[in-house]
Symmetry: D3
Subunit: 223 residues, 6 copies
């Protein structure tokens, strides 16, 4: 298979891209589609405000347009690896290949695993944007609740703090909001997924893995 | 990877299972999860009525319970490969592993590719059931329309007739109903997907491929 | 009037059927439709899981098909007397006469008495199924909440325990969830309806009585 | 049984009340609740505009308040027999007994008989009001469509004209709008129900009969 | 500009009308539309029950019909200045000019300022009516919550008590219900708007000012 | 009054800004708030694609941030005068003053004038974006339909062609889609509003006038 799935990290943090690459290793095999993870070099250093989203959006759009021109033949699909899906519709205007957003795919995948979906956001700042997206997608009735970890960049780098908050917030979403499945509302946490699922005994979805699996499905089925 | 994805064809037609197996070939690789397609030997000869769905449901539930007991360790996920998702909730009661229905996954995958989803059903008989399922899943606002091919078993075996009807119905869903993406409402048509997509210039989703991709995502991400 | 309303108890507990028959006595008079309560002899001993629902469904479908053949002329309507409405759509495929489910009729009747409806379930196990049914019926916005009594079979036979829990759960639905009308989520509790209504000062609906009244309406109006 | 169901015709046309009384004959028996049909002597001569609805509303409210005072002990339930449900909420403020509107009950009863409900209105003038009521009741997703007969008072008295239009409009609702069950959107047509049902082979609901059946259920179950 | 916006206070309290007039002073200028505030002399002394609403409705309808006849040429728009919007649809039947209800306009204006809207009602008595109106308008998903001040007429005249309750209820709507914008659910509180907005740091909408601004827009744009 | 309402035209066409300024003349008076119309000099030459919207969004956000810094004291409100509401949420992050989008305000104003709203778009290209916005705002049930004029820039400058298409599309929205009120889906057509309203005999809303009226209401009521 000579097709590539482009996973675009729309912030400029190379470590996030590296983490995605590591987590996606099981999704690649010799004869399968390649998975290429890219960093948006001019992107914002994390996407935490509308300003970040909008500036990333334009860059994502431009990158997809560029890739179409330079490597169009080998593109199988695009994945935008940020939970705000920046530039999703703009990118779709640049290509007829599938452009998948990890928010959208993370939620749709969760909906295949349970009726009531809880979302763990990083910060409160973009939760209104998320809510509008859920309503725009017509899936708001499936969202049991969304709660923020409320952790800054430094705290997120402390694994112990992060685990403690994930547990706390995940438990509330499960027990108080009745969530039957949880979604990690961020591209930077694949390493916690399996652990959190074990702890809470409900399925936990990493949105990037969900999106790449759906991209894989499209590419493999296209022959 | 020592995990298997069990794809259950809930009717007794071995040819359908064989078709699924062939179509799923690209989804298997040496180090990846195995994909095993099973026929429900006592299942109905096609699932076209509520009676078929209900009788298949019980058998699907029993099969999943059996597999859990006999091969529980190696099960990665279950896929119920019939567009009525017979026994979906019953099967979920037998296991904590993912049980995916192809109707649900086909629609959720389509929702990642376009706003307005059109569904091509085989017959009118189960369209009411489908509509109830869309509403129960809270996704009815995304369904642009559903139209039946209205082809009997014999006619479905005639490839020319089938292609002609697929084109006709697909075009109406695209042009009159405004569908931006189509779903094949049946497990038995993977061979027409790419062709129909080419003809109509909108994405066409085969629901079984969609469900197996989502199952693959869960199994690969579970490590 | 030579018509009969068949009230099918889809579990095998003859006492439940007997209780229904007693409660329905006021609904019968000399010149009116007969009401015949039937027990599903091969049915499950109570309907508490998806497995129970699915196995009852097939039997309900078969019974309705049989009654159509053997007593078709005298059938006025069918009532499926279990709050999961097992086999509702399957039964409707067997006949053109009205087939009413007590969940559906209990809720619709409650909706004629108040805006926000609370449901008292027996166990938590089937509450997800109920929620899907409310959404499928497009009436989810009218459900203020659903809470389980969480009583086992033995406890349910203790009248004191049952009354205490009915009061406790009913009060929460009224005061915390804002329910203006309550539905008993079970066929086996007609004897508590009037008492609970008196205690809580909101209308309480017994779903079987509600369904039989609606069946009566159809039969009487058909002349 | 010493209870009475008061069926209030909120217009001043005695013939309409008489027609209701005749149609309700099968709903009465010796030991059962009495059914008393009342004409709102000061009511408008038909309810075709918002002005009619509002003026009837006040009178319905006053009548219910009066009946509560003068015959409170014997009242079992009230039925407001006009498809605009004038004064429904006002009347409910005057009493703790059930006050049922025929629009509400007609639609809820139809929802127990099929998924997609078609409504046959008399005139277009109040269809906007109906639509707001369906949305307020949270049942708009079940309405397949509503079409007016567009017949004036004189034309409605011509039985041939009325039958022709009922057939024409009912067929459109069934065939073009996909209605599986129809509701007569008027209190004055019980005599056409069975005939129209026969002609169109889908259930047809007379809203007054539906409401009285639901009232009967409440009164009988109250013991 | 020779047009007048008629602001109808549908209760008989001249002080309320006087308060509206004072608050609306900034909305008038020499060359602009006149704003005339009218008291419904025969209206109820406050609108706190369905009975009040319905009796005001008829009077509002009649007043609009009268104004159309006597001053039709100079009418620019009508505003019904009571949060129950009594007679809104009846009045619209009397004229082709805009008839705006302050509930509707207050909520729509709030929706332009934030996603989740909280409503401060005076009493609990009409909150069910409000809820039905929100659903009928298809905007229920935007309502974060509605809470009553639960203050009687006498208490409302005590400014200290009123401020204390406004703060208390406003805070709950903001903090517990997540309201991003608040609406005063009453025509009689324009003097508290700016103060409450300052205290709570979320936009607070006075519904009459909102409706008059929208009326002004229609009149000015009509030339 | 020393406050200014800033009306931002997010494209670079000075003529459009000039047209807005002319149409807004009746909204200004000596003692009232000033209305300043600004052109986004670096903005795209018209907003017809996602690319245009996204690039305008960033510029709108920056302009609002600048105005806050340089003229913060005198700002009363901001109006984004493009039917895609580019940068609406980004701008709201820069200020606590009201930021109104003309799409949002145009639709909300239309909702105060009729139940079913029709939208006249310029081109089909952004109609999907509009539909997502309506759903995100929870008002999709009020949209009767949206149809494009499908006129290019040159054709739009031909007044005869534009009028002919406005009439044609407006009539279809009124007669086939049942729209009771229409919204011009573009900032550049205020001169056609009154004429189209006369022709079609349903209210027609210019979205910029609607937004400025709502901005005026906020500024005047703030004292």
């Amino acid at each position: 298979m000579d097709k590539t799935i482009y996973v675009i990290n729309p912030n400029c943090l190379v470590e996030v891209t590296r983490g995605l690459k590591a987590s996606l290793a099981p999704f690649e095999w010799n004869a399968g589609p390649r998975i290429e993870c890219m960093t948006l070099r001019d992107g914002p250093p994390g996407i935490q405000t509308e300003q970040h989203v909008e500036s990333a959006a334009l860059l994502v759009g431009r990158l997809v347009a560029d890739l179409e021109q330079t490597r169009g033949d080998q593109v199988g699909a695009y994945v935008i690896a940020c939970f705000s899906d920046p530039g999703l519709y703009l990118a779709r205007d640049q290509t007829r290949k599938p452009v998948l957003g990890i928010q959208e795919c993370g939620l749709l995948t969760a909906m295949s695993l349970g009726q009531r979906v809880g979302v763990i956001a990083i910060l409160k700042t973009l939760m209104n944007r998320h809510a509008r997206a859920y309503a725009a997608a017509g899936i708001a009735s499936r969202i049991a609740g969304e709660l923020p970890l409320s952790l800054g960049v430094a705290e997120l780098q402390d694994e112990g703090t992060t685990r403690a908050r994930l547990l706390e917030v995940g438990r509330r979403l499960r027990d108080e909001y009745g969530s039957e499945v949880l979604v990690l509302g961020c591209a930077g946490m694949p390493q916690y997924r399996a652990w959190l699922e074990d702890q809470l005994a409900v399925p936990v979805v990493d949105p990037t893995m969900a999106a790449v699996a759906m991209a894989l499905g499209r590419v493999l089925d296209a022959g």
